[in-house]
């Protein structure tokens, strides 16, 4: 059974039906214990999708949100205050992108951690907090409880945020580009930690990123987004070895690698469309080398292989051949 099921989620810039859209008819399922990657360039709407699950989008976007986000059969979008608060932290938690800003500068690490633990009904707060910090491999946790965010490095702070996220044993953690602000080696160590924590706690993860290396490292399945739509989803190996959608292929090719040094990187002409002016039909067609007249019409999401779907007329033709 699915843990989280997003159906036809559309987010507009305000209540008006003609307002520019950030997300268009996004449907996505997350299985228990699974790590689903959400990858795309800036402006693709991947962060907004992450935020929408916990209804943390700014008021103007919240007004323009339609569709369903089902959790244990209940639609998060129609939940009211108390139920929503019961869901946040206990059922679904989040790790944000900027470790420098995620922690409140005027409260100690201990107080911000025990705040979450208290909600989880833990009585032995100090010990629980110390244990939580130890689990995320922070040296001398007892002292660290008393220190303040500005006295810690980015990597250490992100681990504290993870401890806070896990404090209430949520069944799903949404990670919104948690390692983008970290150095490579620190990112590597953090991803290792996340995998270990997932092994221990068994929670599912929705991992938003723009870095295919991170996706390869940590995700079981991945959904590629472009201009507010999901263009392709599938198991990680399937997507990397046999990408079906032209955009996914072009993206994978454009990433420089340490193993080879071509003279020129294959390039996708033009730039990703900004929210205001998205072309009709398949949003990628102006930049797509294989675009045809039928691309003026929006291609539906088609199953092209076991658990591997893509929304592209050309991809359907290739699959059929």
């Amino acid at each position: 059974m699915t843990l989280l099921s997003i159906r036809n989620l559309t987010v507009r810039l305000g209540r008006d039906a003609l307002a520019p859209t950030i997300l268009e008819e996004v449907s996505l399922d997350v299985m228990p214990g699974e790590t689903l990657g959400l990858v795309g360039e800036s402006g693709s709407g991947k962060s907004t999708l992450g935020m929408s699950v916990l209804r943390l989008t700014p008021p103007r976007l919240a007004e323009g949100t339609s569709g369903e986000i089902l959790w244990d059969g209940r639609d998060i979008l129609t939940m009211r205050g108390r139920d929503l608060r019961a869901l946040r932290g206990a059922e679904i938690s989040m790790i944000l992108q900027d470790p420098m800003a995620s922690l409140n500068p005027v409260f100690s690490i201990g107080s911000q951690l025990t705040e979450a633990l208290r909600r989880a009904g833990r009585s032995d707060l100090m010990q629980a907090a110390e244990a939580a910090l130890a689990e995320v491999r922070i040296p001398s946790p007892a002292e660290r409880l008393r220190s303040y965010p500005h006295q810690m490095s980015g990597g250490m702070r992100q681990r504290v945020v993870s401890a806070i996220g896990l404090a209430q044993e949520p069944r799903l953690i949404i990670c919104d580009e948690p390692t983008t602000a970290l150095d490579a080696t620190i990112q590597y160590q953090f991803l290792e930690l996340l995998r270990a924590l997932q092994g221990a706690h068994g929670m599912a993860m929705l991992f938003v990123t723009h870095d295919f290396g991170v996706v390869a490292r940590i995700c079981d399945r991945v959904a590629v987004m472009y201009a507010g739509r999901i263009v392709e989803t599938g198991p990680v190996r399937e997507i990397f070895s046999n990408p079906r959608h032209p955009y996914t292929r072009a993206l994978l090719a454009a990433v420089p690698s340490t193993s080879t040094a071509p003279d020129r990187l294959p390039v996708i002409e033009g730039a990703p469309p900004s929210i205001g002016n998205r072309p009709g039909g398949c949003a990628f067609h102006p930049r797509c080398p294989m675009a045809g007249p039928d691309c003026q019409r929006q291609p539906p999401m088609e199953r092209l292989a076991p658990r591997h779907e893509a929304a592209c007329w050309r991809a359907r033709e290739e699959a059929a051949a």
Partner: protein
């Protein structure tokens, strides 16, 4: 940390010295007090007599050195007008009235200002937000004496709820403190609203909501605690506007404070009292700024390491 404190004390003394010199010269240049003290039918001999008596015939720098010397021993000279009463004693008699009024006014401004600022931030863009800002602006655009007099006529005369003026019971504090505080109210409201908006838009507020904390805790504990920091930094400036307003408010409400004493001593060219009261006012500013710095260190952990 102690280096910061010592640094500040040194700067405070320098400021005090600078101010005392400026006031000493300024008050001397404003025409000598002798003319004022001469009886109506006085003649030239009477004038020379008085000058000698007040030791005003010695060169200016000598007078300043002797003034400074005495000041260090607490003797700020005697009031030329008010029957040779000790200037410092005269000022210290009036100080509690001014400090208590300024304190109450600052309290009122901070409490109301913070409440209005938070309210405006939470209801951003709505009619409430606009209303709050307009009410705060009203405070800033009305001269204190006019507001004071209008309040006296409406509240004290027409409704008779409060005494029109005078000093003594707590009822006497309400109108003067209200008048004195309204001007700074706009500044506090605007500042709190701005820093609240910054705080509410921050990542750590998102994280607080992610923890599932009730909205009240998110706003009052997490957001407000951060947005009070800029208010503290401006506290020194608010205290300054308070004392500046005191001269006007104490005159309108017949409040026996040092603001009015300063005004009256300047009008009557009572040098020793002018110097003393201005020095006491400056000293209280510097003390206030010093306390603000210490308060700032207390509530913002980031500052502690930098100190």
């Amino acid at each position: 940390m102690t280096r910061l404190i010592m640094g500040r004390l040194a700067e405070a003394l320098a400021a005090l010295l600078l101010m005392s010199l400026a006031i000493f010269l300024l008050s001397r240049v404003t025409g000598d007090p002798v003319a004022l003290l001469l009886g109506d039918g006085a003649t030239a001999e009477d004038r020379d007599l008085l000058i000698a008596q007040l030791r005003l015939d010695r060169p200016l720098w000598e007078q300043y050195i002797s003034f400074l010397g005495n000041a260090l021993t607490g003797d700020f000279g005697q009031s030329v007008a008010a029957g040779r009463r000790d200037a410092l004693e005269l000022v210290l008699d009036r100080l509690p009235a001014s400090l208590s009024l300024a304190g109450v006014a600052l309290g009122f401004t901070l409490v109301t200002g913070i409440a209005m600022g938070v309210l405006a931030a939470i209801t951003r863009g709505s009619a409430v937000d606009l209303l709050v800002r307009i009410v705060a602006l009203l405070g800033q655009s009305v001269p204190a004496f006019w507001l004071g007099i209008v309040l006296i006529y409406i509240v004290a005369v027409q409704w008779g709820w409060l005494p029109t003026s005078g000093y003594g019971t707590t009822a006497h504090y309400i109108l003067p403190a209200l008048t004195m505080g309204t001007f700074t109210l706009a500044a506090v409201t605007r500042l709190v609203r701005a820093s609240m908006l910054d705080a509410l838009g921050s990542e750590y507020i998102k994280l607080a909501r992610i923890k599932g904390l009730p909205e009240a805790t998110v706003i009052l504990k997490h957001a407000l605690s951060n947005s009070l920091i800029p208010v503290v930094t401006f506290m020194g400036a608010f205290f300054a506007t308070m004392i500046t307003g005191a001269v006007v408010v104490e005159t309108v409400f017949a409040w026996p404070g040092i603001g009015r004493l300063a005004y009256e001593s300047i009008v009557s060219r009572d040098f020793p009292v002018i110097q003393t009261v201005v020095l006491v006012i400056t000293a209280s500013f510097i003390l206030a700024n010093f306390c603000v710095d210490m308060l700032y260190l207390a509530i913002d952990p980031r500052m502690r390491d930098r100190g």
